[in-house]
């Protein structure tokens, strides 16, 4: 039992921190510009592909270093020549635009790199197990992911708290009109924010590619989960996003470990559920089956009862 808890905790943490790494960029963009970037997971995927290609020529480390930068640059250009055009029409056209970018990225990636899964692998030095816990290996690479995510969290936190940029961002979250009044170049700030946000997604993609697979479908499931993280955590709240990420990571892993159904609970109470029982489907649904939909349930409930999110400063 204990080993399950500890191991699930570790795995949940790794997954949760990866989610946070992804979501941190999204939160940044959402807070600053009020745009929920639906293409965020697309940039994540794009970076994995770039990192793969670069790693073929220059090795893994250059891959994870350069890919986020390239993706950040592309993100900045998308903001400059795309998003800015529709910004004046409000949030709905912005959402539609980023939806289109997400759609297009998936096709472009398949067009350039093909539809098969790529053999994007971790470097020799990060192969193997770091330690063995109750007979199970904990891979070095997971520890590497964990460390990178934590470092990014700390950096972002410090930047937000102690720098001028951070001040502007925090001001913008509470009062979007303030930034313009301070005489800042708002379009430039937006472009940089979008670039940095997508670069963070890129970093996540570049380091997740080798473990979660580099293939055209790698963005599809994660995109939705990220919105959950950002909305559940609350607009403009890095801390909220952090908590939400870890929560989702833990729920996903523990749900699979627990593997019970309502029928099992009822059985404890002496009620035996059979296929003839009314609403058998519901009683027999197991935790691993339900696990993927819990995050969405969290988001919907949060939006209905507290649209500001867990720790949000204002409504989206």
């Amino acid at each position: 039992m204990l080993e399950t808890v500890i191991f699930s905790l570790l795995n949940g943490l790794v997954y949760g921190l990866l989610l946070f790494l992804l979501a941190s960029g999204l939160t940044l963009i959402f807070s600053m510009m009020g745009v929920l970037n639906l293409a965020h997971a697309g940039f994540y995927m794009l970076a994995a592909y770039f990192a793969y290609t670069i790693s073929l020529y220059m090795g893994f480390w250059f891959g994870i270093l350069l890919a986020p930068l390239i993706v950040g640059l592309i993100g900045g250009l998308v903001e400059r020549y795309g998003l800015r055009q529709v910004h004046q029409f409000g949030h709905v056209p912005e959402l539609i635009f980023t939806f289109g970018v997400a759609f297009l990225l998936e096709e472009v990636v398949q067009f350039i790199w093909g539809r098969d899964q790529l053999a994007y692998n971790k470097p020799e030095i990060l192969e193997g197990a770091l330690f063995t816990l109750f007979g199970a290996d904990f891979p070095i690479y997971k520890m590497f992911m964990l460390i990178v995510s934590v470092l990014i969290f700390i950096t972002l936190f410090l930047v937000l708290k102690h720098t001028r940029i951070g001040l502007i961002i925090r001001a913008a979250v509470g009062h979007p009109q303030v930034v313009g009044m301070l005489g800042h170049n708002v379009p430039l700030i937006f472009m940089v924010t979008f670039g940095v946000g997508t670069a963070l997604a890129g970093l996540a993609g570049a380091i997740a590619g080798p473990v979660l697979g580099t293939y055209p479908g790698m963005a599809s499931g994660l995109g939705g989960i990220m919105f959950v993280v950002v909305i559940f955590g609350g607009l403009g709240s890095l801390g909220g996003a952090f908590i939400a990420s870890i929560m989702i990571g833990l729920i996903q892993t523990f749900a699979i470990a627990i593997d019970g159904s309502l029928a099992d609970v009822l059985a404890l109470a002496g009620i035996i559920v059979t296929e003839e029982t009314f609403m058998y489907d519901i009683w027999s649904t197991t935790m691993p089956q339900v696990a993927p939909l819990i995050p969405y349930l969290m988001m919907v409930v949060m939006l209905i009862f507290r649209p500001t999110g867990l720790m949000g400063a204002r409504e989206s």
Partner: protein
């Protein structure tokens, strides 16, 4: 009686007459088109009917109510599932209901579902509404896999449309009968949706879209207005689902997942969400892409994505908007002055189009990893992708086209402005029914 009142009344009579003619034309087109079509064409036409009803229903939200939904396929899918259950019920001798009436049942199911979900999701518009709709769609799609009893799991639910009692000898066995079934429902649903958009609730949906705060101060609860639109939209989405269920006799989770919801948004937007007919145009274009173009090239989804992004950035009013841009020129009687500049503009446009598409297709062909198969058909030619001549030729063609566009675009723009400028302020009262917001 004021002057305006008299004009309005006269215009109203004229308008109604025009409408009658239009509805008649619409009906005639629906009746005649299949007679000209091949078997594949007939399949496509039936798909267009379903897609159009769904896209029109979707646009009741996005275009008319300003609500961006990433989960509207839920009501299409639920309507479809309900229809399949009805078909099974009838088929197993449950009740002698003619199955041509199935869509109304699907619609009612969609309506009830929309009422339940809309009661809380329509409290806000904008991002919150969009994300609730997205979350609900993910939840319902996941449930569709888990709850096997109603949804049938991965396999979905299937049935047989010919099991019910015949409807005046009409059994929906051959494809042509299925088409006419879909066409009749397409007509009825379009008719109903059009008149909904002209009703007080439909007009107020426009008002709430524009300014929900103000609507409160003229007596309307914006949430209720949104809910009415939402429920009506769910009803018509359910009808579309019902037609689909009859056509394919199967409904699965992919009918109600977020991908299906995204597709209908694409259709509505590409067609033009500011116009009543916009979504139909979008549905036609997307269905043709999905059936015809997908048979010609594997890259059709890439082109769809480019078309969509292009629409968002360059023609936010969609394809219909591009056509409607010429309303004023037509009123000025200057439409003919545009023919020449447009034709000239078309030359570099076609050149760059052919050039770029060819390069893209050649790149993709080379990536396909078939050694020795260098020759590919492209725009009625056979191109050898292993030769550099082909690449150079198409690169030059694209560049020439793009450079040409730099010259022709200002010319076309000037011509367009000239054709539209002579415009005096519109004077008749019912021109307000003209372009926007219908």
């Amino acid at each position: 009686m004021s002057n305006l009142t008299q004009i309005r009344k006269a215009e109203n009579i004229a308008r109604k007459k025009r409408l009658r003619i239009l509805w008649l034309c619409f009906a005639v087109i629906l009746v005649v088109l299949p007679l000209l079509a091949t078997k594949f064409g007939l399949t496509i036409l039936t798909q267009i009917c379903v897609a159009s009803v769904f896209a029109l229903a979707y646009n009741m939200l996005l275009g008319q109510g300003g609500m961006l939904s990433f989960g509207h396929a839920v009501y299409f899918g639920l309507g479809g599932y309900a229809s399949i259950h009805l078909m099974e019920y009838v088929g197993t001798g449950g009740a002698p209901i003619p199955l041509v009436l199935t869509p109304i049942f699907g619609g009612l199911f969609g309506l009830v579902a929309a009422l339940l979900i809309g009661s809380f999701s329509t409290r806000r518009a904008g991002t919150v509404f969009a994300m609730i709709s997205f979350g609900i769609a993910e939840l319902v799609a996941a449930s569709a896999i888990i709850l096997v009893g109603f949804f049938g799991g991965e396999e979905g639910m299937s049935s047989d449309r010919t099991m019910g009692p015949s409807f005046f000898g009409y059994e929906m066995i051959p494809q042509i009968e299925v088409y006419y079934f879909a066409a009749v429902w397409f007509f009825l649903a379009t008719f109903a949706m059009y008149y909904f958009s002209r009703s007080p609730a439909g007009r107020m949906a426009n008002a709430v879209r524009d300014n929900a705060e103000r609507a409160q101060f003229i007596g309307y609860n914006p949430q209720k207005i949104r809910l009415v639109s939402f429920v009506a939209s769910g009803f018509f989405a359910g009808i579309a689902g019902g037609i689909f269920a009859i056509q394919y006799e199967i409904v699965t989770d992919s009918n109600l997942n977020t991908a299906a919801s995204g597709l209908v948004m694409l259709q509505a937007y590409i067609g033009g969400i500011g116009y009543f007919v916009g979504p139909v145009i979008g549905a036609i274009v997307m269905t043709l892409l999905n059936t015809v173009v997908s048979g010609m090239t594997d890259l059709w989804l890439l082109y769809t994505g480019l078309l969509f992004i292009g629409t968002v950035l360059l023609a936010p009013n969609g394809l219909t908007g591009l056509i409607m841009m010429h309303t004023d020129a037509y009123r000025n009687g200057k439409l003919s002055t545009l023919v020449k500049p447009y034709l000239i503009g078309l030359i570099p446009l076609t050149a760059s189009f052919v050039g770029i598409i060819s390069l893209v297709e050649m790149f993709s062909h080379r990536n396909e990893q078939t050694v020795g198969d260098d020759v590919m058909p492209l725009f009625f030619m056979n191109i050898d992708v292993s030769t550099s001549e082909a690449w150079i030729a198409f690169t030059i063609l694209s560049l020439a086209g793009i450079i040409g566009l730099r010259f022709t675009i200002p010319m076309v723009r000037t011509a367009w402005h000239e054709a539209n400028e002579a415009l005096t302020l519109p004077a008749s009262p019912t021109k307000q029914e003209g372009a926007k917001n219908e």
